[in-house]
């Protein structure tokens, strides 16, 4: 069965750590980092990258448009 594997790139300097993407992710991929960016925000990152399906939900809700999403079909 064809399955999607995804990955996101967070522009961490522009991320404001609002956490809305964390809630929007259906597979629990994203967390806020312990470290902060130059503005002092705990930026979003893939804590659990293996679970990402590339569904784009995180990017779709991101108020600052900082998430780029990639998706590839892989064989199960």
């Amino acid at each position: 069965m064809a399955k999607s594997k995804g990955s996101i790139i967070v522009d961490k300097e522009r991320c404001k750590g609002c956490e809305i993407c964390v809630l929007a992710c259906p597979t629990g991929v994203i967390s806020l980092a312990r470290e902060v960016n130059s503005k002092g925000y705990h930026f979003a990152y893939m804590e659990n990258p293996e679970a990402c399906t590339g569904c784009t939900n995180c990017a779709v809700v991101c108020p600052d448009g900082v998430i780029t999403v990639y998706r590839k079909k892989v064989n199960a």
Binding site: K3, K5, G6, S7, I9, R14, K16, G17, C18, E19, I20, L23, A24, Y41, P49, G54, T56, N57, A59, V60, V61, C62, P63, D64, G65, V66, I67, T68, V69, Y70, R71, K72, V74, N75, A76
Partner: protein, 264 residues
């Protein structure tokens, strides 16, 4: 067994499924973390890119938090005086009827100081799109009571909660303008979840597409959060919005193709 596909195999141009639209500039938005303005801006920009109307669109920005919207959208824009955006947009559209013209206004701008301009642009049936961000508070000036502040809701000028006996009632501008013969499409949306964002984007697209019909004004209200004004975290603010704003400002279509939804 899943193929051993690493991130470097996925992050390739051919696998790109979502990136920030080029109609948004690279400038970091000044909005607070989690603010719905950023999402609403992005959706408008995405629709402009998808319809390929960057050269054909003129936007009018309000006074309020979104006053600097022109820094973020790579289109020609005018900054209107407080509340006057529908009058400004009226002239733009009348002089350049083939352009796509929109206003972007907050609740103070559209529903308080600009009530007359809003109602008359709607009633004249100007062929423009009005995007109305309703977060029930004056964000820019520091959280004062807005015309849309809920009964009992605290703000810096209703510190014990809005007392409707003393301060008047919250105003449902969207339902009000839907009554006017000049409006063609009136809807209320939100941008707090992936599903709501996708629906809101469809509504914004519709409001742009409607301008081709020349049948009247399209108004898209977006119920939004103001976590700084409400003094909550972004996630809490969205939850509070669903529990408190939605019962009074329910999302959904109010008028479609010039007809009230749910009425004969």
């Amino acid at each position: 067994m899943v193929e051993n596909t690493g991130i470097s195999d996925i992050v390739k141009d051919e696998n790109l499924v979502y990136q920030k639209t080029k109609v948004l500039t690279d400038k970091v938005m000044h909005y607070c973390p989690g603010c719905g303005h950023g999402t609403a801006h992005r959706l408008i920009a995405e629709v402009i890119e998808e319809m390929d109307i960057q050269a054909g669109t003129i936007g009018v920005t309000p006074v309020g938090c979104a006053v600097l919207m022109y820094n973020y959208l790579d289109i020609d824009m005018q900054e209107a005086a407080h509340g006057r955006a529908p009058a400004v947009a009226t002239a733009i559209k009348r002089l350049m009827p083939d352009k796509y013209v929109f206003t972007y206004q907050g609740d103070g701008d559209l529903a308080a100081i600009g009530t007359a301009e809003t109602i008359h642009a709607c009633n004249r049936g100007e062929n423009i799109a009005v995007f109305f961000i309703n977060n029930g508070i004056y964000g820019m000036t520091g959280g004062q009571m807005a015309p849309t502040t809920l009964s009992g809701m605290k703000s810096s000028t209703s510190p014990y909660g809005r007392d409707v006996q003393m301060m008047g009632n919250p105003l449902k501008m969207t339902e009000l303008v839907a009554q006017l013969p000049g409006t063609w499409y009136v809807t209320r949306q939100a941008v707090h979840t992936p599903a709501s964002v996708r629906k809101a984007k469809k509504a914004i697209r519709q409001a742009f597409e409607n301008q081709k019909l020349k049948k009247g004004l399209s108004l898209v209200e977006i119920v939004s959060n103001c976590n700084s004004g409400w003094k909550m975290s972004p996630v809490e603010a969205n939850k509070w919005m669903v529990e408190n704003m939605f019962p009074f400002y329910p999302p959904g279509d109010i008028k479609l193709e010039g007809k009230m939804v749910g009425k004969e």
